[in-house]
């Protein structure tokens, strides 16, 4: 017997399978975060616990400090990337000038070419300048991927911006700063939020640059998570992992609107 419902189920089976595949890794990760003893071949945990979260909540664990440090660095990277990306985005999105294509290509290269070589090359200079092993040093290298992303998002935003509003405001006598605050920024709110979120997430997820330049001294959350994953206690590692995912998801959810419009403009988040 083949009913319409059956047919629909069959029709959606491939979709359900792919989605299940994308969600499957969460099952052991979440279970593991609340599990103490889970030896093979038990399918379900033998003993549930909050030990993982208690361990990282303890004042000595350093995970909370790592969270705060990652937030600070992330916000700084985000703000700087937007500040630097704004004028460049304006230039690329609004004006025609000689060498525009070349500048655009140059600014996009770090989106594609990994920053590994640059960070490795810079490391010794940063050591000499006293920037290695310091949060500002890590922040600076994280700008390498963050600025190009922010710039291209803002450039796309400016390209779609109706300049007539600005002209109107100028004609009506609004001065530069006033015009910026009252007209341009509100009009650019979407791309600006998207750029800020992207830059933040780049910083938030970065491990390798923090490792190379931070030299183990800048203990951002990813650095702590890596240490936890390579250590023996998987329960703690899973708990740190969930702690790290939560803010990223919150930021994504909060900025869902601008990010959705951003993807309309065909600017993917990129493989962070």
């Amino acid at each position: 017997m083949s009913t319409a419902a059956d047919r629909r189920t069959v029709r959606h089976l491939p979709l359900a399978l792919v989605l299940a595949m994308l969600w499957a890794p969460w099952v052991p990760l979440v279970l593991r975060a609340f599990t103490d003893s889970w030896r093979f071949p038990a399918v379900l945990p033998e003993r549930m616990t909050l030990r993982g979260f208690r361990t990282i909540a303890a004042p000595d664990s350093g995970v909370f400090e790592g969270l705060v440090l990652s937030l600070e660095i992330g916000i700084a990277v985000s703000a700087l990337a937007c500040l630097v990306g704004w004028p460049a985005g304006r230039a690329l999105g609004t004006y025609q000038f000689r060498g525009r294509r070349a500048v655009q290509a140059l600014l996009l290269t770090p989106v594609i070419v990994p920053a590994l070589a640059a960070a490795m090359g810079l490391q010794i200079l940063f050591v000499r300048l006293g920037l290695a092993g310091s949060p500002p040093g890590v922040m600076l290298v994280q700008l390498i991927p963050a600025v190009p992303y922010a710039t291209s998002i803002l450039a796309a935003g400016f390209a779609n911006l109706d300049l007539d509003y600005e002209t109107q405001a100028r004609v009506l006598g609004a001065r530069g700063p006033r015009r910026l605050l009252a007209v341009t920024i509100p009009l650019m709110r979407g791309p600006l939020v998207a750029a800020a979120v992207m830059a933040f997430l780049i910083s938030w997820s970065d491990f390798l640059l923090a490792l190379l330049i931070g030299a183990g001294q800048v203990k951002t959350l990813p650095v702590q998570l890596f240490a936890a994953v390579t250590a023996t206690d998987t329960t703690v590692a899973a708990a740190v992992a969930l702690t790290m995912v939560a803010p990223a998801l919150l930021v994504m959810a909060a900025a869902a609107g601008p990010l959705a419009r951003l993807s309309q403009a065909n600017l993917g988040k990129g493989p962070l």
């Binding site: 030896r39 071949p41 030990r51 350093g62 050591v127 000499r128 030299a215 183990g216 390579t230 023996t232």
Partner: protein, 413 residues
């Protein structure tokens, strides 16, 4: 001695009344007469308000808690803060120091103290990265017999006061008594027999992992009948005589190992995780004392036991060293001294089962009793058993060479 390297250490050394770096080049690093009480007070007061950037292997949560809890609390009266920099391999700390050397940063370095021994210490010493001639002047130096090779030498390299003893590490085999019985863990041969009968249930981390390297040397000792043929400085012909049988044995063992020996775990942590998950039944460790804690919290099964294989176990001391360009050498020295404090050693023994690095015979009776009274997990071997057949380490050059050749002779084969 390179004078540039000495500038920051000089402050501390001067405070101790030492002349390590400003020594007459003709006689080398001479240690001047020291008025201990006054000198030490000067170190302590210079250390006030400093933060010690302590680079150490950070894979052990209990130890991390000890550092950031107990030790941090005890440093509070000195107005010293600990910044524990967790590294997955001590070589990273040496690398940071070398990087600073390479960048010409001879003062104000980012590393103040390193938990170190063996080849990493040797590398640092060879590159002249350490501040030296301070360890024997710590107030707690009285708790050591500096004539004892275990204190004066580190993997065959003279310590020369460039590092201060902290812990003692005795290797042991950890096993699940539900999978292996005592006859299986009697000797290396019986262990190999067991592994061959139960393929895939045993492995060791790929050297240069510290413990993996020890596992290989344990088999080496067993293969050539102890370390006697390879004592002293590195000798190429002795080495060439010793190793072929070892490589044969390790390659023969491969089919019995995890993944049929076609690959090895990256680290000791991964090995312990596999044991916790029930993927393997036995592994070698340098930290048998820490096993009790893992059983207690349920990470390891209750049936976990330890054994010393016939032929003995490899033992060493681990130390803390201060880089020559350390920014806070005074605070690092105060911490090094605190680490040797009998109460610290006792607290660490209680927390972790870490065996004391100090000579207990030099402590007072009350302290010895306190050590004896610490309850011991049934999973963990008593100290006497671990010390009974302790074998010394080989010179660092042998160790490095074995690790290097293991890659081409075993891993990449």
């Amino acid at each position: 001695m390179n004078h540039r390297r000495c500038i920051p250490a000089l402050v501390a050394v001067a405070a101790l009344g030492l002349t390590a770096c400003g020594a007459d080049p003709a006689t080398g690093a001479r240690v001047g007469s020291i008025s201990t009480a006054q000198g030490w007070d000067a170190v302590v007061s210079a250390a006030e308000g400093q933060t010690v950037n302590w680079y150490m292997w950070g894979g052990d949560p209990t130890l991390n808690d000890f550092v950031n809890g107990y030790l941090a609390d005890r440093l509070e009266p000195f107005d010293i803060t600990i910044n524990q920099v967790k590294v997955s391999d001590t070589a990273q700390a040496i690398d940071t120091m070398l990087g600073e050397r390479q960048a010409g940063r001879s003062t104000d370095g980012s590393v103040d103290l390193v938990w170190v021994n063996g080849e990493n210490f040797a590398t640092g010493k060879q590159a002249d990265l350490w501040a030296c001639d301070w360890a024997q002047h710590l107030p707690n130096a009285a708790l050591f017999d500096f004539g004892d090779p275990a204190v004066a030498m580190d993997f065959g390299v003279p310590v020369d006061g460039c590092e201060a003893v902290w812990q003692q590490a005795n290797s042991a085999l950890v096993y699940d008594s539900e999978a292996l019985d005592e006859s299986d863990v009697a000797s290396v041969t019986s262990l190999i027999d067991w592994a061959e009968a139960h393929p895939g249930r045993f492995t060791y981390p790929a050297p240069p992992d510290f413990t993996g390297s020890m596992a290989v040397r344990t088999l080496l000792y067993d293969t050539i009948g102890g370390p006697d043929d390879l004592t002293g400085e590195f000798d190429e012909s002795a080495y060439r005589d010793a190793v072929p049988a070892l490589w044969d044995r390790l390659n023969d063992l491969e089919p019995a190992l995890w993944r049929g020996g076609e690959t090895y775990p990256q680290s000791q942590d991964q090995v312990e995780k596999m044991y916790a998950d029930g993927e393997i039944d036995a592994y070698f460790t340098y930290g048998p004392g820490a096993v009790g804690d893992k059983v207690a919290v349920g990470v390891f099964p209750d049936s976990t036991r330890e054994a010393v294989l016939a032929g003995g176990n490899i033992a060493n001391n681990s130390f803390v060293g201060i880089p020559g360009n350390a920014a806070h050498p005074e605070a690092a020295m105060v911490l090094a001294n605190l680490l040797q404090d009998p109460q610290t050693q006792l607290a660490l023994y209680k927390a972790e089962g870490t065996y004391p690095g100090i000579d207990l015979a030099r402590t007072d009776r009350a302290t010895r009793d306190e050590f004896a009274d610490v309850p011991r997990s049934p999973s963990v071997l008593p100290l006497e058993r671990l010390l009974a057949d302790a074998q010394p380490e080989l010179a660092g050059a042998y160790v490095t060479r074995i690790e290097h050749d293991w890659k081409s002779e075993v891993l990449q084969r």
